[in-house]
């Protein structure tokens, strides 16, 4: 396949970036999207040019590191996958593919296609944990009976890999799906209820401080989330937050 690429190039955080055109010949449908970029980079290096920087790690859809906006959609055209799980068979000969970094004020570009997603880390640090004594006498979590329905919902929320596709997809660059997944995974379990009130207030406060937009319930985040995190979590976070704020 012959593929035309339009890729965002930006020297560093303070430089102004631009779209640069590249042409790839001999692209195989069985190549992963990232392998296609690897080959492009090898070609650039052999020509003495600066390779394109992009985030990647596990390359099996579980770490949440890869983060590309491909033809206007986070992680590309296929549903419930990350970029590393996207294959070139999803494109056809002669296609033009536009590749950009995830765009949000809270996700500043570091270089080329790499963005700084530490805003998510700071939201997590604000309350995305439970305080457990790890002295060696920790109670086994499995010894506490939990309703199957709640266990399933908590597990589904915990599947969030923090990739940022929800922010990238949202027209408002809102981080509510991410934050709500992290709130929900604890709020649904007895171990998480103890700090539930402080957790939701602190995480929402940090989310707002980071400069993410406001959710307007378009549902784009749910559609583009590679792990299928549900909008139900946002409603739960809203409930938790309102209840916690009113109680004081």
């Amino acid at each position: 396949m012959k593929i035309y690429l339009k890729i965002w190039r930006q020297k560093d955080a303070s430089s102004k970036g631009k779209i640069v055109d590249y042409t790839m010949n001999g692209v195989e449908g069985d190549m992963s999207f990232l392998e296609m970029l690897d080959i492009l980079n090898e070609d650039l290096i052999s020509k003495g040019e600066v390779p394109i920087e992009f985030d990647h790690d596990c390359r099996e859809g579980i770490c949440g590191t890869c983060s590309l906006q491909i033809n206007g959609r986070p992680h590309g055209p296929d549903r419930l996958i990350t970029v590393c799980q996207l294959h070139m068979r999803s494109f056809k000969d002669g296609d033009t593919i536009v590749i950009e970094p995830f765009r949000a004020k809270a996700f500043p570009v570091i270089k080329d296609l790499i963005v700084d997603r530490n805003a998510f880390e700071r939201i997590q640090q604000a309350g995305g944990f439970i305080s457990v004594n790890t002295s060696g006498r920790t109670v086994d979590a499995n010894s506490i009976p939990i309703r199957k329905e709640n266990a399933d919902k908590a597990f589904n929320a915990a599947a969030c890999i923090g990739c940022g596709a929800c922010v990238a997809a949202c027209k408002n660059a809102s981080a509510m799906l991410f934050t709500s997944a992290k709130v929900s995974q604890f709020a649904l379990l007895p171990q998480g209820r103890i700090e539930a009130s402080e957790r939701v207030q602190n995480m929402v406060r940090q989310m707002d401080l980071e400069g993410f937009g406001n959710c307007t319930n378009t549902g784009a985040c749910e559609i583009e989330c590679p792990k299928g995190i549900s909008l139900e979590n946002i409603a739960r976070m809203n409930r938790e937050y309102l209840g916690a704020s009113i109680k004081g």
Binding site: K171, G213, N238
Partner: protein, 222 residues
């Protein structure tokens, strides 16, 4: 409580509550308007009651105006903040791939409805205030039907009403059910709320449109 007022979730809830209040008001409004097609006398009686009842005039009317202003101002605040949250735009952005047009363009449909409200207020509210408080005319419980029907005589006003109610329909289509999600309600009743929203978003504006066309086609002959 102070952090609640400033939070993004509180803004969503304010939008939701003011929106739901306006949704409820629409049902009352369309019911009274519909009587103008069924019985001019009933329409005159109800309109006179709404125009001179103290509770309606001095409590409900200010609350309604505040509701409209809060919904509008908060909508604009949210739009500005949301635009600021993505200072550098995408070269290519496929919004249609993951969210319906109505949900992504509430600001457009909302601004059209707001512009319509300007015309609507000028047509009826300003007229009413002038009649009662500036010109100090005596009470006339029989004038409302004639005044309303005459408003729809010009084709341009009837067309503007039809277009505006089309946009209101799109605004309700997303906004009504969305307000429940904003207030934290997403449960087994959500599919029913979404279905009811679609019916409400179509039926209510359609009845308003029917009334406008009916009066345009059936003018009062003197």
């Amino acid at each position: 409580m102070s952090s609640l007022i400033k939070s993004s979730i509180a803004r969503k809830v304010v939008m939701a509550l003011s929106g739901l209040f306006l949704v409820l008001f629409l049902a009352l409004h369309v019911t009274i308007n519909l009587t103008s097609v069924i019985s001019p006398d009933t329409f005159n009686q109800w309109s006179h009651f709404m125009g001179y009842n103290g509770l309606v005039q001095y409590i409900m009317q200010p609350v309604l105006i505040i509701g409209v202003i809060v919904h509008f101002v908060m909508g604009i605040v949210l739009e500005i903040k949301n635009t600021q949250a993505r200072s550098i735009k995408y070269t290519k952005y496929k919004g249609a791939a993951n969210a319906p047009w109505v949900s992504r363009n509430m600001i457009i449909t909302g601004l059209v409805v707001l512009a319509f409200l300007g015309l609507h207020f000028y047509d009826f509210w300003v007229h009413e205030m002038t009649y009662k408080y500036i010109e100090s005319n005596p009470e006339d419980p029989t004038r409302y039907y004639t005044e309303t029907v005459e408003k729809f005589a010009p084709i341009w006003r009837t067309v503007l009403y039809i277009v505006s109610f089309g946009l209101l329909s799109l605004h309700l289509w997303h906004g009504f059910a969305s307000s429940f999600q904003s207030m934290g309600l997403n449960n087994k009743y959500t599919p029913s709320i979404k279905s009811f929203t679609k019916i409400y978003a179509v039926v209510i504006p359609l009845v308003f449109v029917f009334i406008a066309i009916y009066h345009h086609l059936n003018p009062i002959t003197h």
